[in-house]
């Protein structure tokens, strides 16, 4: 089986694999419209990885589900354009999406405990999509499933095929989920916090495995995570999301070497580092993400930003191009004279960001 080899021989479309333009996803709730994703654009080439990073509630999961068309039937507004190999996905019926789900694009979810069917044998969960999308016999599908389990480094694959998910450990289950997602040789894989529920050692194993499979199959990947450490060595590009928007996007090395957005800087500095002395005080981001029903006027990060100026509270910055595919959304970017001046001014005034440290109750805001 070599789904990666002949796929491009007769590929009719030579543009980017995925082109998302100004996608919006709103949820209707009793409190009003929750703007979970609010105008996101991104492009993904074949075989590349984009990392989407942000806190809970930044819209990163909704974005990936919205691209794939995995949203509730009712109470959702989805606008913009999602083109997969030139095929527009917005407005397409779920019935027609079935030809893409599993076959062309698939998804790995955060929790391997709940994303597998507990009353179905592992083997059947893998062959299900193979039998659905590929015209093969049952015995051939089983053989394929065994090969898949072997390729995701599950020992004794033949025996495992006949087992139920509860008989496997968390890491094994996530490997099975990867096998299910890879079964039909998709061109695009969404991985939504694939390792958040796993131990560090197992996390490293699973990330390595995904990278190897991606190389072998020349598959593009969208890696959604809250941990900048997970994407640092593994993504070609990184998009940082905040309040439903991309606030910074750049090739990985550029982002880490020359970040412009105060939010990215804050996110990175809040991670405890191994090479820091113990008891080093961690930088924190005061407050919490904004209410997406009534987002603040101006820059959405302004209430928590150490660089904030009056202009930020009034006027929302547009995505600015810093060259080399580096986009950011800030009036007083990190590492520029304006940014330094703004930070200095705030320090001199002794003004912490306007938001008081988490004292009030949440008002909700996530769908």
């Amino acid at each position: 089986m070599s789904p990666g080899e002949d796929r491009f021989g007769d590929a009719p479309y030579d543009g980017p694999l995925l082109e998302v333009t100004d996608i919006k996803t709103y949820f209707e709730t009793d409190r009003g419209l929750v703007r979970s994703v609010d105008g996101v654009s991104l492009t993904l080439e074949r075989g590349k990885t984009i990392g989407i990073v942000g806190e809970s509630g930044s819209g990163k999961t909704v974005l990936s589900r919205s691209i794939m068309g995995l949203l509730p039937k009712r109470g959702v507004v989805r606008e913009g354009s999602v083109k997969f190999e030139g095929q527009e996905f917005i407005g397409i019926k779920p019935k027609d999406m079935r030809a893409f789900w599993g076959a062309q694009m698939s998804m790995i979810f955060q929790d391997p405990m709940t994303s597998l069917n507990p009353v179905m044998k592992v083997g059947n969960q893998i062959t299900e999509s193979i039998r659905q999308h590929l015209d093969v016999s049952k015995s051939f599908a089983n053989e394929l499933a065994e090969n898949l389990l072997e390729s995701v480094r599950i020992p004794e694959p033949r025996k495992r095929l006949k087992e139920y998910p509860h008989q496997l450990s968390g890491g094994m289950r996530q490997r099975v989920c990867i096998a299910v997602a890879l079964a039909c040789g998709p061109k695009l894989l969404f991985a939504d916090e694939p390792t958040t529920a796993l131990d560090v050692t197992v996390q490293a194993q699973v990330l390595d495995l995904m990278a190897a499979q991606q190389r072998e199959r020349f598959m593009a990947m969208v890696l959604v995570t809250h941990d900048l450490g997970v994407v640092a060595g593994r993504a070609d590009d990184i998009a940082v999301m905040y309040a439903g928007r991309i606030v910074e996007k750049a090739p990985t090395t550029t982002l880490f070497a020359n970040m412009k957005m105060p939010y990215t800087e804050a996110l990175l500095s809040s991670i405890p580092r191994l090479d820091d002395q113990s008891h080093t005080r961690l930088a924190t981001i005061p407050g919490r993400p904004p209410d997406l029903v009534h987002p603040p006027k101006g820059c959405k990060f302004a209430p928590r930003c150490p660089y904030v100026q009056d202009k930020c509270r009034e006027e929302e910055p547009l995505l600015t191009d810093a060259g080399g595919g580096h986009l950011y959304r800030c009036w007083f970017p990190v590492g520029t004279p304006e940014g330094a001046a703004a930070l200095e001014k705030n320090r001199a005034a002794g003004a912490a960001p306007a938001a008081a440290l988490a004292t009030g109750p949440t008002t909700g805001g996530q769908p």
Binding site: S56, V200, T201, A204, D208, D227, L255, S278
Partner: protein, 357 residues
């Protein structure tokens, strides 16, 4: 690793908590036993934070819970401030409960959703009827204030607060009885990085302000390094390595510690993930743990001796203890793709050795 021994314990008169040869076993089907914790010894000096690290299933949470006698240890001794807890029953043990508290991993499910935050936090005071009603209310306000929750919101219920705030409330609940010892069981694992930093800083502040002694259980080594004064690495119910954070991280002596360190994703694109440094395989079943050193099945340095003889904890350099027959030299790099090569050398002897484990 699979180490036992007392070499790492300090003189008995210095410590607040002293645990010796703690064993916790759970009955399993067919007369088998789950060997969750097999002979752990540890001590904590007042005002110190002990970090317990290891993968899921290494027994770190069970150790934390057995210290507060939930569940009761199968054998061994747990002394809090000189009082032996394992023999205490009923009311005698209950009287000591306010002095040791726990904070759990999932902040939302560890708070009763139907009760008001004020009632949740003041319950410990109410049970022990500490002070009158007004002074209890004042105390609740004080701890809520200290953890960064506005007491004006104390009449709300947990669902109205975010995960990070719920964890602050859990900390307030643990603090309110003025305990000597707080066991934090993965208190930041369920939180976002930005909130995680807030909670870690808060725990540090609380410790400085109230002179708390903490047992901090986590699987994230970077977090543990930040909060701990002393770290104990565990594997499958045994101690691997004990030391002060900076030394332990600079110079891991146990192959398992090195593997854990190598697995941490580094937020720096220049550091490419290296699959040779990734520990393969999974933690073996605690129903039937490997003989000798329990880590030998995944260890690249394992030899026949590791299968036959359990390593004892010994001091490699001052204040740095390891339970390994072949500890790492400084700067030694392990290739985990070789793991297990020599590990099964002693496999034949295994059945007998396991029988008397």
């Amino acid at each position: 690793m699979a180490g036992t021994g007392h070499a790492h314990l300090r003189p008995a008169d210095q410590d607040l908590l002293r645990v010796e040869d703690l064993v916790v076993e759970f009955p399993a089907r067919g007369g088998q036993k789950v060997h969750a914790v097999s002979g752990i010894s540890l001590d904590i000096v007042e005002g110190e934070t002990l970090g317990l690290v290891g993968e899921s299933g290494c027994g770190k949470s069970t150790t934390g819970r057995a210290i507060v006698q939930l569940p009761r240890p199968t054998s061994g001794s747990v002394k809090l401030d000189g009082t032996e807890l394992t023999g205490l029953k009923g009311e005698d043990l209950r009287k000591l409960r306010p002095r040791m508290q726990m904070i759990f991993q999932d902040p939302i499910s560890s708070l009763n959703p139907r009760r008001k935050v004020r009632d949740i936090v003041s319950e410990g005071l109410d049970i022990w009827s500490i002070g009158d009603k007004a002074s209890r209310a004042a105390k609740v306000d004080e701890v809520l204030e200290a953890v960064g929750i506005d007491p004006a919101n104390a009449n709300r219920r947990p669902h109205e607060f975010s995960g990070g705030q719920c964890q602050r409330i859990s900390i307030a609940r643990a603090m309110v009885t003025e305990p000597k010892l707080i066991i934090c069981d993965e208190p930041v694992s369920a939180l976002d990085v930005s909130v995680q930093a807030q909670i870690i800083n808060l725990l540090q502040d609380m410790k400085d302000r109230y002179g708390l002694t903490l047992v901090f259980i986590a699987h994230d080594l970077a977090v543990v390094k930040n909060v701990s004064d002393r770290i104990m690495v565990m594997y499958l119910g045994k101690v691997c390595e004990v030391g002060v954070p900076d030394a332990l991280y600079q110079r891991p002596s146990h192959p398992y510690t090195a593997a854990l360190l190598a697995a941490i994703p580094v937020p720096d694109p220049q550091t490419r993930p290296d699959s040779e440094k990734v520990l393969g395989g999974e933690i073996p079943s605690p129903l039937n743990p490997p003989s000798g050193c329990r880590f030998r099945t995944r260890c690249p340095k394992a030899e026949a001796r590791c299968a036959q003889e359990e390593p004892q904890i010994r001091e490699v350099v001052a204040n740095h203890f390891v339970a390994c027959h072949f500890p790492l030299e400084p700067g030694e790099v392990l290739d985990f793709t070789k793991a297990g090569a020599g590990a099964f050398v002693g496999l034949d002897e295994r059945t007998e050795a396991d029988a008397d484990l």
